[in-house]
Amino acid sequence: MEEKVRKVELAISLVLRIGVVISVVVIAVGLGLMFAHHPAYLPIRGHFSYKELTSKSTPFPHSFASLGHSIVQGDGRGIVVLGVLILILTPVLRVVAGVVSFLYEKDPPMALVTFYVLVVLVGSFFLAGV
């Protein structure tokens, strides 16, 4: 019993670790590109305020179509958003890892519980209209 739980723990820990590392690397690349393409952002003292980038009217991708377009163009903003989406998917993937591990370890009640969570989670994405 203890041995089984241990394997599930290690599998889930690994999924979380991989998701976090990939997302942080993608975000760092995107941030680097953003500064490389806009030298005006860089000085420590300057007239260009961050508020230009954090106001309500700031353009940044928030649909899959505009995100794809932005990534193809090599825009840093789009790549940062991609990294954030990878981060958002990480908890979903760890629920998937839970279902698979519990099935593999022949623990039907827990596999059923995690599968229900997965269904509700995926359902919530569709309900949101993603």
Partner: protein, 289 residues
């Protein structure tokens, strides 16, 4: 409150990214230690200090919760601090609560909800504080659900330098509180960890450190359930999200190391202080909006 627009007028995007990343390290550290996520710190910092629009601040907060959860949980789960089975079992109630909350949003007045949950959290902080001397793990449990799913566990406490075994009780009130936690996070956008920790600590008698680590494990899934909506609504601004994710992940990694070493009592006191602040903040929003 004084206005810092004058000082911030000369803040360039680089200054913004670097300073926000440093503050996010602190947010990740605190959030991972008490199982609440980084949103508790991120939202007030962005709105009050940087004057960022509240909608973008909430988007950043959701991202910071997922970062705290995934960053710290990787370590907590491997070190057996998280009760994986109990966490996954209770997610039944939190995810269901989050989805039903999305439908109730338009039905219930927000001001009433803030007062209601403000009082609930106030009571929870009192209940959590009272248990500071009675924090002894149970050795027997006749809770049928907990026995059937084998939700009991054990962990190695670095502070006490011994293996601590514990039994879980009260799964029914636990599930009810978890449903309320999911509901509250969908209705009010608050970090649902504030209700998850007391549910596991007071109702189910999990050790404080396990409650915190397990809440930390669960909040990522609750936040992911609403993150899709925030992305489509355009609330995830890359220049805010990038430093928040980087800083929070770093802070959460440190926080995960700290939780192992400090005593359960310390975690409990820090948690109670943060909970009292959140509860007062909610009452203020409900009474003087």
């Amino acid at each position: 409150m004084y206005d810092c627009t004058y000082i911030l007028g000369s803040v360039t995007p680089l200054d913004f990214v670097v300073s926000l990343a440093l503050i996010s390290v602190a947010a990740g550290l605190l959030g991972s230690l008490v199982g609440l996520g980084g949103g508790v710190v991120i939202v007030p910092v962005l709105t009050l200090l940087y004057h960022v629009d509240i909608r973008l601040a909430i988007g950043a907060s959701i991202v910071s919760v997922i970062a705290t959860s995934s960053g710290a949980a990787a370590a907590y789960v491997r070190e057996r601090m998280t009760n994986l089975r109990a966490g996954m079992f209770l997610e039944i109630a939190t995810t269901t609560g989050a989805v039903s909350g999305a439908y109730l949003t338009t039905l219930l007045p927000t001001r009433f909800l803030f007062v209601f949950f403000g009082l609930v959290l106030g009571y929870s902080s009192l209940a959590t504080f009272r248990r500071r001397h009675a924090d002894v793990p149970l050795t027997v449990s006749n809770d049928r659900i907990a026995n059937y799913f084998n939700l009991h566990g054990s962990y190695y406490d670095q502070a006490e330098q011994r293996e601590i075994s514990y039994k879980v009780v009260g799964t029914k009130p636990g599930l009810a509180l978890m449903y309320a936690a999911g509901l509250a996070s969908a209705l009010l956008g608050i970090g649902s960890g504030a209700l998850k920790v007391p549910a596991m600590d007071s109702a189910m008698h999990l050790p404080m450190k396990v409650s915190s680590a397990t809440s930390n494990f669960m909040i990522g899934v609750t936040a992911a359930a609403s993150a899709g909506v925030y992305f489509i609504r355009g609330q995830i601004d890359p220049i805010i999200a990038a430093p928040v994710v980087a800083g929070v992940l770093l802070g959460a990694t440190f926080g995960a190391r700290v939780l192992g070493r400090v005593t359960s009592k310390t975690v409990r006191i820090v948690f109670v202080v943060v909970l009292v602040v959140i509860s007062l903040e909610m009452l203020q929003k409900g009474i003087f909006p």
